[in-house]
């Protein structure tokens, strides 16, 4: 069993003013593909490196299969790592690259060769074994690095931004051989990425990190539908969620022409007198009614399928921008006044303005 457990894992870099990873506790189930996501600098990579043994921990512990590996050398942990840019040795053939974990462990040449062949076939690169990494395409390199990661039958594979800067279109990444292989082999996999779309498309579960802390852990649907904090709401989704501050009075949050009634549980957990109302762009509509949020169009972007209309509203002298996904009907011109309405059945998200935490439903 290669489940992974972080307990209060903390890492402070010398000279840094806050921990890179700050008391992270996280359970990863055996065979699961967990995506670690969050803006760059949120601590994803450091967390992986702590698991792999490349980064010391200042506090806390890491358990693999229930065993504390804090003092275990990287090569004895049963963890392999796929680095950003793949880290294939340019002076060695693909075969030698894949065999590296075996040769370093002094496996017999014969069994190593057989295993390399087997893994290469599994990854579909058996034809390229004698090429140098620089002479093959991106896809082969990607598969080769995966082959190297699984050749020694690790319990856990860590992927550190494997597609960053690769030029692979966002939408294509879900079909990457890495994800496909992982599903097939059911190796516990931790996949760090900045792209929320990556996270969305391949993850069994997503852990959203921000400022070195886990903001939320859940299935993609959970995280998308019920973001636990403002940070998660902003990070996930394209575009991120619209967030506007509203004042609470008499159990109702008001924002311009919009009024949201708070439940009693919500009201009781509220720490201040303000909430942040979150509405996804998909849940807003440009309507003809007079009842709604009055705003002025400041930007219209054509995404190809629909339009993203940015409208600026002014409440109590404060400006805030809302993004609306506008599919049909006439497109408002820049500078035009519009009235925004909330679609029927739309989800409204309420967050405590003080600590950014989602208010219970």
């Amino acid at each position: 069993m290669a489940d992974v457990r972080f307990l209060d894992a903390t890492r402070v870099f010398h000279g840094a003013w806050r921990p890179a990873v700050d008391g992270v506790s996280l359970d990863v189930r055996d065979g699961e593909l967990l995506v670690l996501t969050g803006p760059s600098g949120s601590g994803k990579t450091t967390l992986l490196r702590m698991l792999a043994g490349l980064e010391p921990m200042d506090r806390g512990s890491v358990l693999i299969g229930g065993k504390d590996v804090g003092r275990t050398a990287p090569d004895k942990r049963g963890v392999s790592m796929i680095f950003q840019g793949f880290a294939l040795f340019p002076h060695q053939s693909i075969r030698e690259n894949i065999a590296l974990p075996l040769t370093m462990r002094k496996n017999s040449a014969k069994s190593a060769a057989a295993r390399v062949q087997q893994v290469a076939e599994l990854c579909g690169i058996a034809d390229h074994l004698n090429s140098k990494p620089d002479s093959v395409g991106y896809d082969v390199r990607q598969r080769a690095t995966m082959a190297r990661a699984i050749v020694r039958r690790p319990g856990v594979v860590c992927l550190d931004e494997p597609l960053a800067g690769s030029g692979v279109p966002l939408m294509m990444r879900g079909r990457s051989p890495i994800a496909a292989l992982q599903r097939e082999l059911r190796i516990t996999t931790l996949y760090a990425t900045c792209s929320s779309i990556d996270a969305w498309s391949i993850a069994d579960r997503i852990a959203v990190l921000d400022s070195g802390r886990v903001q939320q852990l859940g299935t993609p649907a959970e995280v998308f539908d019920k973001p636990a904090t403002i940070a998660v709401a902003q990070f996930l989704g394209q575009p991120g969620m619209n967030l506007v501050t509203a004042a609470v009075a008499d159990g109702v949050a008001r924002m311009g022409g919009l009024a949201v009634a708070l439940t009693s549980t919500q009201a009781s957990t509220l720490t201040g007198h303000r909430v942040v109302i979150g509405i996804r762009a998909e849940d807003l509509a440009i309507g003809a009614e007079t009842d709604g949020i009055r705003a002025t169009t400041v930007l219209v972007r054509d995404t190809g399928r629909d339009y993203l209309v940015t409208a600026r509203m002014v409440v109590d002298g404060e400006e805030s921008d809302l993004v609306v996904r506008h599919a049909g009907g006439p497109v408002p011109a820049k500078g035009e006044s519009v009235v925004l309405g909330v679609r029927a059945g739309a989800a409204l998200h309420l967050f405590d303005a003080g600590n950014g935490v989602r208010l219970p439903d």
Partner: protein, 295 residues
């Protein structure tokens, strides 16, 4: 000289002066040809002189060979190769140059790896010291090291000459290699480390193969520097261990009468570096650029 590369970039108007406009393309070639010939003539003169009899050399200029090709003879060379002292000194040059180059490359690479990838207390400060040592003139060390060698009884030995070259070659070696090693992607080192590679394994399997261009540059530089050295060998070697440069130098005072040794000897002494230079020009230039502050 592939690294320098400014070969007629299309559309590039060179930053010339007004003269540029007056001279047509052909005239530039003429100027270049003239400069090139001026630069070649001294070496050519030595080469031709080495192929003439001493009596011919004192009678007429080497350029008379073009009208009297019969003057060409290999007698000076055969005499040179029959001269035991010269052959011994040539052998000494090899015995000094090869270990001095290998040691500097090896020890320099080890230290450069530490400076690039091993974090230790005072690392940056120490590296500044190394950079500072690059310009120290060897004159400042001659007397104390001579005394040290006398105490160790290695004064006049090849070992002493080699060690002195290693010492003064190391700062540049560390500087050049450290900069190159530091640019090797960290992931490659970590990938090895993840599989249980020790520092030594990383050094051998990752740093050395990937750092090869810089190592080649350094090796060529060090080779030329030691092969061509006169001062160090003049001080630290004796009649038995002196390299070719010192052996020839002792003939310089009677230049005219020793020309039959000096000309072929000097040509022999410069032919090896010249071959190295033309064979590895690219690395030579790279090393030059990377370490252009060495004194």
């Amino acid at each position: 000289m592939s690294v320098t590369r400014p070969v007629a970039v299309p559309g590039r108007v060179p930053a010339g002066t007004r003269v540029a406009k007056r001279l047509t393309g052909g005239a530039w070639y003429l100027v270049v040809l003239l400069v090139g010939v001026i630069w070649l003539i001294p070496t050519l003169g030595l080469f031709i002189s080495s192929l003439r009899k001493a009596s011919d050399i004192s009678d007429s200029g080497w350029w008379t060979v073009f009208t009297h090709p019969a003057q060409i003879t290999f007698k000076d060379y055969s005499n040179l190769f029959a001269n035991k002292g010269i052959i011994q000194s040539l052998w000494n040059t090899v015995l000094i140059t090869v270990p001095a180059t290998v040691l500097v490359v090896f020890l320099g690479a080890l230290a450069a790896y530490a400076f690039a990838w091993i974090d230790f207390r005072g690392r940056d400060w120490l590296f500044v010291v190394v950079v500072g040592l690059m310009v120290v003139p060897i004159q400042v060390a001659l007397l104390p090291v001579a005394a040290l060698y006398r105490n160790l009884h290695i004064f006049g030995t090849i070992l002493g000459v080699v060690m002195f070259h290693v010492g003064f070659g190391l700062p540049f070696a560390i500087y050049l290699l450290r900069n190159f090693f530091a640019a090797i992607p960290r992931e490659l080192l970590e990938a090895t480390r993840m599989e249980g590679g020790s520092e030594w394994t990383i050094f051998r399997k990752v740093i050395v193969p990937l750092g090869l261009p810089a190592i080649a540059s350094l090796a060529i530089f060090q080779f030329l520097w030691v092969w061509n050295d006169l001062l160090v060998a003049l001080v630290f070697s004796n009649a038995k261990t002196q390299p070719l440069t010192v052996a020839l130098q002792s003939n310089m005072r009677q230049f005219g009468s020793n020309i039959d040794i000096l000309a072929p000897g000097a040509f022999l002494s410069l032919s090896v570096p010249l071959v190295v230079f033309f064979a590895f020009q690219r690395y030579f230039v790279q090393g030059l650029m990377a370490g252009s502050v060495k004194g």
